[in-house]
């Protein structure tokens, strides 16, 4: 590093060491608005997961960046030139900066009203442009999504593969179902259950199929939107494709896609799309309240709790409708955990953390499992495939710990908690199949074999 520094040219007078062209003037001002009250430190899941190492504190990161800005743009920098910053220090700062799930609880509690999430994302972009990010595997997102239109290396022609034979997709309808890549490729049970529930409720819907492109959430959250402009291209494509179908509503069951459609699409394309963005929980809650849902099955007096996905709750303000749904599921007693709604504890998957820093994602998810254990929940439900996956992993890790370290399970030692998405529970209690196409095909093959034998 020292040698590198020697060979690096002096920054000419007036030229800053860290540029800021990607950071909106309001976000820049936000760095100076922090009162250093420390409230965000009490809530940050990343700081908790890092055992309080203050390098990961939101307040500390804000102070560090403000300091860099001061050295680059302050009075001294104006008079004597921008001060050379230590590259190792900047890299250390950037690493800490990417250890954040962009959950936004620091924004909710911030006494200065700082919109941290957007500010972090813009700053991440600046750091990426400078060569100080992103973190780990997340660097592949723009290439994958740019090339394949999804992050899972699948061909667009495979977009329809998840649809089982019993699911009816309309040619024309007022509603479109935007499944997203995760429900379409990776956790197909969510797509299958959503489609079956909509069919069951007589809500005709269209599906873009090969024309559905990734929402690009992962690229935006990790500060890489400038790489090929993918979020803008995919937003424009998806919005235009949906508008061309003449739909009035676009239905989402994935919190990440819903957040992008609600907040990022209008920003990317510079206008609001000509359709309403709806989460499937909104529709279900409405139908439940109108008494239009009939349940065919019931749980056996189990306790259920709900984890607000940050992308659905804190980012978009949808808190009540999933609760209405879960509270009305037969045979379940709904209880609230600690830290819910605006003050929810993130599961730790967002902001590229699951892909880039899986250990930290797991540690944060384990904390969420402990919150659910504290209220003796049998089922921990959410409305987001990423929460489902990561909290599920957290559950496995906590129960592994029980075996190895005798972790205190708060009087609930044998209760292996079920982590399940709301839509799967709904489908199950409506008496619908929750099997995905490949499982059904497998079963068919087995039956066939049995018949032969």
């Amino acid at each position: 590093m020292a040698d590198e520094e020697k060979t690096m040219p002096e920054i000419p007078k007036g030229q800053p060491f860290i540029k800021t062209e990607m950071i909106d003037p309001i976000f820049m001002m936000q760095y100076d608005a922090c009162t250093r009250c420390g409230e965000c430190e009490k809530w940050c899941p990343a700081l908790d997961a890092k055992d309080g190492d203050r390098k990961y504190s939101p307040m500390n990161k804000i102070s560090r960046f403000r300091e860099y800005m001061g050295r680059s743009y302050g009075l001294k920098a104006k008079l004597f030139g921008s001060k050379r910053l230590d590259e190792d220090d900047i890299q250390d700062f950037a690493d800490a900066f990417f250890h954040c799930s962009t959950c936004g609880v620091c924004a909710t509690v911030c006494e200065a009203g700082i919109n941290t999430v957007d500010m972090y994302e813009a700053t991440r972009q600046q750091l990426v442009m400078r060569g100080n990010g992103p973190y780990g595997k997340t660097v592949n997102f723009p290439k994958l999504i740019g090339e394949y239109r999804n992050p899972y290396l699948k061909q667009q022609s495979q977009r329809l593969d998840w649809i089982p034979d019993d699911v009816e997709i309309a040619e024309k309808a007022d509603v479109a179902y935007f499944a997203g890549c995760t429900a379409g490729f990776n956790q197909q049970v969510l797509g299958v259950c959503t489609a079956r529930v909509l069919n069951h409720l007589n809500v005709p819907f269209i599906y873009l199929g090969e024309e559905e492109w990734c929402c690009s959430s992962a690229i935006i959250r990790t500060g890489q939107p400038h790489k090929g402009d993918i979020p803008k291209i995919t937003a424009l494509h998806n919005v235009e494709a949906l508008e061309a179908k003449g739909v009035k509503q676009v239905m989402f069951a994935c919190a990440g896609c819903y957040r992008v459609a609600t907040i990022d699409w209008p920003k990317q394309i510079g206008r609001k799309p000509n359709f309403e963005v709806v989460h499937v929980a909104d529709l279900l809650a409405q139908l439940i309240q109108e008494g239009k849902i009939e349940w065919k099955k019931s749980f056996d007096n189990k306790i259920i709790t709900y984890h607000d996905p940050c992308h659905l709750g804190r980012h978009c303000g949808v808190y009540e409708t999933p609760r209405v749904v879960l509270d009305n599921l037969p045979g379940l007693k709904f209880v609230e955990m600690d830290r819910i709604k605006g003050l929810q504890r993130c599961c730790g998957a967002g902001g590229g953390v699951k892909a880039g820093i899986p250990d930290m994602a797991l540690d944060i998810a384990s904390e969420r499992i402990r919150d659910a254990q504290a209220v003796k929940a049998d089922i921990l439900s959410s409305c987001c495939p990423f929460c489902r996956r990561n909290i599920g992993d957290g559950r496995d890790s906590v129960y592994d710990q029980v075996g190895s370290t005798n972790y205190d399970l708060r009087d609930n030692p044998d209760n292996e908690m079920q982590v399940e998405d709301m839509i799967v529970l709904v489908a199950e209690l409506m008496g619908l199949s929750t099997k995905i196409k490949s499982q059904e095909e497998e079963e068919e093959k087995l039956d066939h074999l049995k018949d032969k034998v």
Partner: protein, 248 residues
């Protein structure tokens, strides 16, 4: 004691005016540099974005609240702090009201002094000052109590003391010095009619020295220093709350 020697508590109003001018110029230069920094090299770009965003549409289900609610509830009553910690809110409000209140009263008195100097109206400055004494005293104590709470909090609460930096101390201790010298200047004043600090005893020289010191560092620390320090949050935070419609 002639009127001219002892108006605002310093020997010459002109001296104070000169220091005020310097402080304001330093402040404006600092603000310009900050706005330039925020606006990616252009202060006017920052200003135009700022003005545009005050009423921009918020996407998502958080509707933008009215501008009046933001100004009254979130900026003046600092509701966001109250939600998180009533204790911290009391501390903040004491400092905020004390600081702003005394600033406003100082401006009012300075205006009377100017009117008196140019001979408009028949103003008796001693009477005017004495009539403001009580309010000044109350506001001064609010500020002092708020600062003492802030200091004790930073020393006694381990979480807070761990994250406290020099940066934070400069602000708190600087304001404390200003507050105490203000009380001392008042206490030494021979014609002070109220105030617990009269125990210091009348001493016109000391009163004038403390008053000059108090006014000078008040202007330099509380105005000129703002854009170059943590004090900046006093302006930036309300501006942020304004554009973010009260915050998330």
């Amino acid at each position: 004691m002639s009127d001219f020697v002892y108006y605002s508590g310093i020997p010459s109003f002109v001296v104070m005016l000169g220091i005020a001018m310097v402080a304001i110029v330093i402040f404006l230069v600092g603000m310009y540099l900050n706005m330039k920094k925020w606006g990616n090299g252009s202060a006017s770009h920052f200003l135009s974005v700022f003005l545009k965003k005050i009423n921009h549409e918020k996407y998502g289900h958080h509707p933008r609240q009215s501008l009046l609610s933001t100004i009254f509830l979130d900026i003046m009553l600092q509701r966001r702090i109250l939600r998180r910690s009533p204790f911290r809110w009391v501390m903040h409000m004491l400092i905020f009201i004390g600081w702003i209140g005394m600033f406003v009263l100082s401006m009012v008195f300075a205006m009377f002094e100017m009117l008196h100097l140019v001979g408009i109206g028949n103003i008796d400055l001693n009477v005017t000052r004495n009539s403001l004494d009580f309010a000044n005293e109350i506001l001064g104590y609010m500020l002092l109590i708020g600062l003492i709470i802030a200091i004790v909090r930073r020393l006694a609460i381990s979480d807070v003391s761990k994250r406290t930096q020099m940066f934070d101390w400069v602000l708190v201790l600087g304001t404390l010095v200003i507050t105490i010298t203000g009380f001392m200047a008042e206490g030494f004043r021979p014609d002070a009619i109220t105030g617990a600090w009269t125990f210091l005893g009348a001493n016109i020289e000391l009163a004038q020295a403390f008053a000059l010191f108090h006014v000078t560092i008040s202007l330099l620390f509380c105005i000129a220093y703002i854009p170059y320090s943590k004090y900046m949050h006093m302006l930036a935070a309300p501006m942020v709350i304004l554009v973010n419609g009260g915050g998330e």
